[in-house]
């Protein structure tokens, strides 16, 4: 590149400007978070896997096992929703709610469409397992486990 001296000087100056940027970054604090020693705050709207919501009066999940969520899931991730009718109550109460999280796409259709508002997203991102069956959650069990321990499941 046979260039005139002015272009050479301009080119060299642009390189020096670039180097100034990186050296300034060199002396700046890091922006990474040293997970797992530090963790970041998860926003309350984060879409983890779904969980059942507690009904304050009865202390049981609000779900009435109508099955609308299972019918409207695009990936058919909600496998079985079963409930039983208890004494003196008009609607069923859920006993088994199997979610196959391996196919869930966190679209929120089930949360939206539930007539009693019994499903919501959890903030659980630390999911790891050794086999596919580890992700077949029974949400009723999770609900009671959470109630006992007052911690997020898994």
């Amino acid at each position: 590149m046979i260039e005139k001296p002015k272009e050479v000087i301009k080119g060299a100056w642009s390189l020096i400007l670039g180097m100034a940027v990186t050296i300034k970054a060199f002396f700046s604090p890091v922006v990474t978070c040293q997970y797992p020693r530090e963790t970041l705050r998860i926003s309350p709207r984060f879409r983890g896997h779904i969980k059942l919501v507690e009904d304050e009066e009865t202390g049981r999940p609000k779900c009435i096992a109508c099955g609308v969520c299972a019918r409207s899931c695009p990936s058919e991730s909600i496998k079985e929703v079963e409930g039983e009718k208890r004494e003196g109550e008009k609607r069923k109460s859920v006993t088994k709610f199997i979610l196959d999280f391996t196919t869930c796409s966190q679209c929120g259709i089930c949360v939206e469409i539930c007539p009693t508002g019994a499903i919501t997203f959890s903030a659980d991102y630390n999911l790891a397992g050794f086999s596919r069956e580890d992700f077949y959650f029974d949400l009723v069990e999770e609900f009671y486990r959470w109630k006992e321990k007052r911690v997020e499941s898994r």
Partner: protein
Amino acid sequence: MVAEQLIEDIRSSRPGVEVKEVPYEQRGYWFDLSTGPEDIEEVARLFDRHGYYIEDVCCVDFKEYLQLVYHFNHWDDPRRISVRVNLSAEDPVAPSISNVYEGAGWHEREIHEFFGVHFENHPNLSYLFLHEGIDFYPLRKEKVPVPEEKKRLLSSLPVSESDDVFFVNMGPQHPSTHGVLRLILKMNGEYIERAEPVLGYLHRMQEKMAENRTYLKYLPNASRLDYVGAMSYNLCYVRAMERLCGIEVPPRAEYVRVIAVELNRIASHLLWLGTYLLDLGAFTPFLYAFDDREQILDLLEGITGSRLTYCYCRFGGLYNDVDEDFVEGVKAFLKRMWKRFKIYNDLVTGNVIFIHRTRDIGVIPKEVARRYGVTGPNLRASGVSYDLRKAEPYGAYRELGVEVAVGEKGDALDRYLVRLQEMENSLRVIERAIKELPDGPYRTEVKKLKPPEGDVYFAVEGPRGEVGIYIVSDGSTTPYRLKWRSPSFSNLTCFPEISKGVLIADAVSILGSLDLVIPEMDR
């Protein structure tokens, strides 16, 4: 105006063509032409003479007949025109318009392998997405077997006698092709004689999936098409349904949609910036870009809950409302982002090595862009000021307005500068939208989605170009046919033309500057 002149010419030269005016608010296009297969080439030539560009070529299987739908649009007179051709179902044959519009060549290959339509005079009618040897046409409503003589292999480039000619595969696994794209390059020494992209490594049959799911259930699929600019696809699908069913959206939802889409656009351009410079060998701008992108993703996570594939826009509004945290966060982000451009300008834009790698590389002239259907920043870098947010405003863009960044020559450096400028313009739009965010409901309740019969086309300006969707509905709860017009597909069609006689290092640079995302290409 251009459209009226065109229709006059068509009426005078081919009187057999029916022309209908169509209400734009319901259909998405202005004129509807129906013609027979013998006239389509002449009609295409008339379109070409009047300066239209090819937007999309689609095929719909109405069981007694097949219908080819061509969409054309014009930069100066942005009124979309649809052309329909009906073909018989047993032996669908149509002349190819790829001699007029080269960009239609790949669309016709796709229709050939999915529907079985044979295009005459097509230079290379071979398989594009599917593997050779598949024995039925996938997108037909019934299982129609492929006749034996039509099962052709992928085109193999003929071996030449010259010593220096050899083939290099920029294979499906390569650090530079953004996704799984295979390029067969016929090299003469260090120079490329011919480049042939091979697609289909990421084909997921999204369009067939749409026919088996209700409109609501298809929502998550839309974002997965282009996961980098997922908000635009989400918005496009939702707005198309709102146009078809005539659903009103409250202004607050429109403004928030605009903010989310523009944030997504900045995130997509930042990712492009990082990976483009990584291809060229500079390792640090990638990390600076991702640092900025993290801020955006955190903001979007605060309202939508997802970081990459959003399912936020719903029919009639949004999934949930935005809160004060989001507004404050956006304002802080804006203040921070304006200062970050200095870093990119110092480190990259003025850098003499970068300029020498991108100046005069991969020039796309305006005529090439028009005939291949190139849209988006690639088109604007060639000097054409065509932005769908200004030409066909939708949503809150009607009130907010947008500034359009235009380049001059159409080389890789111009594409880079246009995208940087677009990021700044997006920041301005977000500023205005946040300031004027109206109060009110964020959603109109839609009890039951009842789409009438008919078809609708809707196009938005995505980060890569024009994202279009064409839905044919037969009144039931599932779409009858859903066709995506993806910008990367149309942008890549011009690559064999502009990469003749360049070095491999330049081919890498051109591919990077076109900003391709393979999942939306392969659908």
